[in-house]
Subunit: 497 residues, 2 copies
C-alpha cells in the first residue's frame, strides 16, 4: 500500500511554477463555488508519518485558497470539557458547516494509531476503533460531506534524513517533539498498523490517498490536484449520490399489530397511592444523583410520545426531585440555521451532558423517524439510514458511561381528543395546543407505523425503549421515575462487578 | 439594607395555598408570552447567605413555570477552556437567548464576594469588580435583557439555626460543603461586603431585591411576585426603554478633516525591498508565536478598512508565517439566527482565542459603528452606546493578557475604483465584488465620518488603532506584520518588568 510512495517522486521547480498558477486559481474558484452552493462541507483528514510535511501542506493550501473559509482543527490534547464526554463529542463540536472547509489534524486515526503503536490498545480494540471511524465517516458522507483522507508518507530512509535535517535547523527543530523522535524507532509498527487502518477504512465514499512526502513540490501539487478534481466533481453533481434504499416496506406484521397496540393503556394509580409512590421515587432519584458513583456516569433521558401524552408533566415531576444545578432540559423544536448547516445529529450532540450531569430531551433525534418520516421533511433514504445512525450514536453514549433511558408515552385516540379539548378550553393551557397538533392527529395510523418501526429497530440491548402506558398521568409519571432509578442502580451495580 | 430582611417574615400555609394557584398560572402565561414575543431574555441572578434557600427557590420556580424554557447555570468551578480566556467569557457563553430564561447561580457577584471575604482581593479590587459587573449588566439591559437580582438573606441567628438543622438532617447534610460551614464564622464579613456590593450595583435598570430566606413560603411567594410583576410590565412595554442619546453630532471638527484624511496614503515599497522585509517580518512573527511567553498571552487582530483596501491579502501574508494549528480566521458576515438572539458582542466573544492562540477577525465588532450606523441597521442610540461597550470589551481582553491589535486599512477613492474595475475584469476575483460594494462606495463621505468618530472614540491607550496607508499593498502588508510583531514584543517586555 505504501510502496508507490517510497520511490522518490519529485517535481522540478520549472514544472511546479508552471502548474501552480492555474491550480491555485481553480482551487480558489471551487472554494467559492462551495460556499455559494452551501450544500455540503469539505473535510480533509491529514495523517501519516511525522515529518512528511502535513503542516507544510496545510500552509500551502491556506496560501492557494482563501484561508478565511478554512478552519484548521487540532486534537492533540483533550480539554476537561471533552474528557467528561464521549470521545467523538470533540469531533462533532468542530465540524465545519456546509459551504466551509475543515482540516483535521490529529484526528480519530491519529488517536487509534498512537494507541496501537504504544500498545495501549490491542488489535481487537483497534478494529473497534476502525469500525467506529468508518460508521462516523459513512454518516457524514450520507449527510452530504465530502471527505478527503491523505496519508503523507516517508520511507524509513527518508524519515531518517528528514529528522537529521530538522535537528540541525534551529528554525525548525522546535517542531519535532520528543515523541516524534521516537517514531524513528517505532516506524515499522506505525507503518504496519497504518496499513491495516488504511486498508479497512478506504471506502468508495471516503478513500485514502497516500502521497509521498519527501519532495515538497510533489506533495503539495499532488494534494492540490486531488482536492481540486474531487471538489469540482462534487460541485458538478446535482446532489450527492444516495444509496438506494431497500425496497421492502418496514412495517411488516401482516395483522397490523405492533408492540404499541399490545399495551394496556389504562393502567392507573389512585391519588393516595400516587402521592406515596411519587414521593418515594423522587427521593430515590435525588439520592442516586447525589451518589458518588454518579460522577463517573451521566444520565440522558429521551421523552417521546403522542401529542398530549404528558411528556411535559412527566419531565416536571422528574425535575422536581433534583438539584436544578444538575440537570438541563432541552426542548427540541425547529433547528436553528447553524444546526441546519450540520449533520442531523449535531444538534443533539451539542447538549450531551458531562459526567455527573443529566440532560432531559423533550423530543429528540427520533424526530427523524417520526415526524420527519411521516411529514416527508426528509427523504426515505434519510430516515431509513437513521435507524443505524441512531443505534451507533446511542452505543457511543453508553460505551462512555452514559446511562440512557428512552420513554415512549403512549395514549389512545380518545384520551388524546379529551386532552386537546381540555387544553383549548383552558386559558392556562391554550399555548399547548396548535393547529399542527390537530393535523398530526389525522395521521394517527401513519404515526403508529412509524412508532412500531422505531421501537423494532432501535430498542436494543444497549438502549431499550421503555413504553409507558400514559392514559393515566399518575401511573405514567411514577413509571418514568422508577425506570430512571432502576437504570441508575443497574449502572452502579455493573460498576462493582 | 438588610434590616428589613431580618424581622422574621412569615406566610402561613393557608394564605400561601390560596395565593399560589393564581401566581403559578400568571407566571406560566407570562413565560409563554416571553417566548412568543422573543424580544428579550430574562436573567435571574441568585445570591445571598448560604442556606437561605437559593436552591429551593429555583426548584419552586421550575415547578411553577415551564422548566423546559429555563436554563439554570452554575459557575462553581472553571473549566480549562474557561480558565484560558478572559473571565467574562464563561458568562457570555451561557447567556440565555431572547425569549428564554437563565438563572445564574454562583455568578460574578459570588466570585467577587468570595474573593473579598477570603481576602484574596482588597477593597479597590472589589470596586473594580463591581464596576465591571455594572457595565456588563448595563450593556445587557441596553440590548434588551430583563435582569432580576435576588439576595436571599438570613440573620446571623437564623443562619445558625439553619446550619444546625441541616447538619442533623441526613437528607440535606450533603448540600453544605465545608466551605459553606465557614460562612457562619465569616458571616459578618459577608454581610459587610455584600452591603457594599448591593449598594453600588442596585440600579434602576437592574435593581437588587433583598428577600428574607428563613420562611420557605415567604421567600418563594415574594420572589415569584416580584418576577411576575416585573416580567408583566416588561412584556407590556412596546419596546424596552432606551437612554436618550446625546444631542450633539459626533464628528465635530469644523474643517471636516479627521485623522484618516491626514494620512499619506501613497507610502510605498519597491518589490525587492518588500520581499526582503516581508520575509524578515514573517520569520519574526513565527518566532514570537513560538516563544514560551506567548503561552501566557493570546493574540487578537482586527482587520477593518475600506472595501478593496486589501484586508484579505494582508491576512494571508500574516497567516503564511504561521503554523496553521495556532490561528483561526473569523470572517464576519451576516449573523446567524442564534447570534441574532444574543447581545451584539456575543458573536465575537464566542471566538475569543485561548491562551497561546491567535484569532484574526476579518471585519469585527466595529461593524456596529460603521456599516450598521451608515446603513441604519441599528438605532442611533445603539451605535452611540457601542463606543463605550467596545472599549469595555477590549479592556477586558487586554486585562486578561490578550494582545489586541486593530488595523484600519485606508485607501483613497481613486485607488478603490481602480481595484473594483480590476476585480470585475478578472474571473479569478469576480467573487470579491458585489453590487453592495458599489452602493457602499456612494456613501464614501458618511463612511469617512463614521471612521473618524470610531478612531476618535476607540483608539485608547489600552487598544490603539493602527492606521495603515494601503494604496500600496506591499507597504500595507509589511506594516501590518511589523505592528503585530512590535505589539507582541512589547507585551513580552512588559512581563519582565
Amino acid at each position: 500500500m505504501f510502496e508507490a510512495a517510497e520511490i522518490g517522486h519529485r517535481i522540478d521547480k520549472e514544472t511546479y511554477d508552471a502548474r501552480v498558477p492555474e491550480l491555485r486559481k481553480a482551487l480558489y474558484e471551487a472554494q467559492y463555488e462551495l460556499r455559494q452552493q452551501g450544500r455540503f462541507p469539505l473535510i480533509i483528514l491529514l495523517n501519516g508519518i511525522e515529518g512528511a510535511g502535513k503542516g507544510e501542506v496545510v500552509r500551502q493550501l491556506n496560501e492557494w485558497m482563501d484561508p478565511r473559509l478554512i478552519q484548521v482543527e487540532t486534537f492533540d490534547w483533550q480539554t476537561d470539557e471533552e474528557l467528561a464526554r464521549p470521545p467523538y463529542w470533540r469531533y462533532w463540536r468542530r465540524l465545519p458547516p456546509k459551504g466551509r472547509t475543515g482540516i483535521f489534524f490529529g484526528n480519530w486515526y491519529s488517536q487509534m494509531l498512537q494507541g496501537r503503536v504504544r500498545n495501549r490498545i490491542d488489535d481487537a480494540r483497534l478494529d473497534q476503533a476502525i469500525d467506529s471511524a468508518q460508521r462516523f465517516e459513512r454518516m457524514l458522507c450520507d449527510e452530504g460531506a465530502l471527505i478527503f483522507k491523505f496519508w503523507l508518507h516517508l520511507s524509513k530512509k527518508q524519515l531518517k534524513q528528514r529528522l537529521k535535517l530538522l535537528k540541525n535547523d534551529p528554525q525548525h527543530g522546535w517542531r519535532l517533539s520528543p515523541l516524534d523522535w521516537q517514531q524513528n524507532r517505532t516506524y515499522d509498527a506505525y507503518v504496519q498498523h497504518g496499513e491495516r487502518v488504511l486498508r479497512r477504512t478506504s471506502r468508495d465514499y471516503a478513500p485514502w490517498y497516500v502521497v509521498e512526502g519527501a519532495d515538497a513540490r510533489y506533495r503539495s501539487l499532488t494534494v492540490g490536484r486531488i482536492l481540486l478534481e474531487g471538489l469540482q466533481a462534487a460541485l458538478r453533481m446535482p446532489a450527492r449520490p444516495r444509496p438506494h434504499p431497500h425496497g421492502a416496506p418496514l412495517t411488516a406484521s401482516l395483522d397490523g399489530r405492533g408492540l404499541i397496540d399490545s399495551l394496556d393503556l389504562n393502567r392507573a394509580l389512585e391519588r393516595d397511592e400516587y402521592q406515596r409512590l411519587l414521593g418515594a421515587e423522587q427521593a430515590r432519584l435525588a439520592g442516586l444523583m447525589r451518589d458518588k458513583r454518579f460522577r463517573r456516569h451521566a444520565l440522558v433521558a429521551v421523552f417521546e410520545g403522542n401529542d398530549a401524552a404528558g411528556k411535559g408533566g412527566a419531565i416536571r415531576r422528574v425535575a422536581a426531585a433534583l438539584d436544578p444545578r444538575q440537570y438541563r432540559i432541552i426542548p427540541i423544536a425547529a433547528p436553528s440555521d447553524e444546526e441546519r448547516a450540520q449533520p442531523y445529529l449535531w444538534r443533539f450532540w451539542r447538549h450531551i451532558p458531562a459526567r455527573g450531569q443529566f440532560t432531559l430531551y423533550d423530543r429528540s433525534w427520533y424526530g427523524r423517524v417520526l415526524v420527519e418520516r411521516v411529514e416527508g421533511y426528509c427523504t426515505q433514504a434519510d430516515w431509513l439510514r437513521a435507524y443505524s445512525e441512531i443505534n451507533d450514536f446511542e452505543e457511543q453514549l453508553v460505551n462512555a458511561g452514559v446511562v440512557l433511558v428512552k420513554f415512549w408515552l403512549a395514549i389512545d385516540q380518545a384520551t388524546q381528543l379529551e386532552r386537546f379539548k381540555e387544553r383549548e378550553g383552558s386559558p392556562f393551557k391554550r399555548f399547548k395546543i396548535t393547529d399542527e397538533d390537530w393535523r398530526n392527529r389525522e395521521k394517527w395510523p401513519q404515526y403508529i407505523d412509524a412508532i412500531n418501526d422505531m421501537v423494532d429497530r432501535t430498542s436494543t440491548s444497549v438502549a431499550a425503549w421503555t413504553l409507558v402506558e400514559a392514559n393515566d398521568k399518575r401511573y405514567a409519571r411514577v413509571k418514568v421515575l422508577r425506570t430512571l432509578n432502576d437504570a441508575l442502580e443497574a449502572a452502579f451495580a455493573r460498576e462493582v462487578r
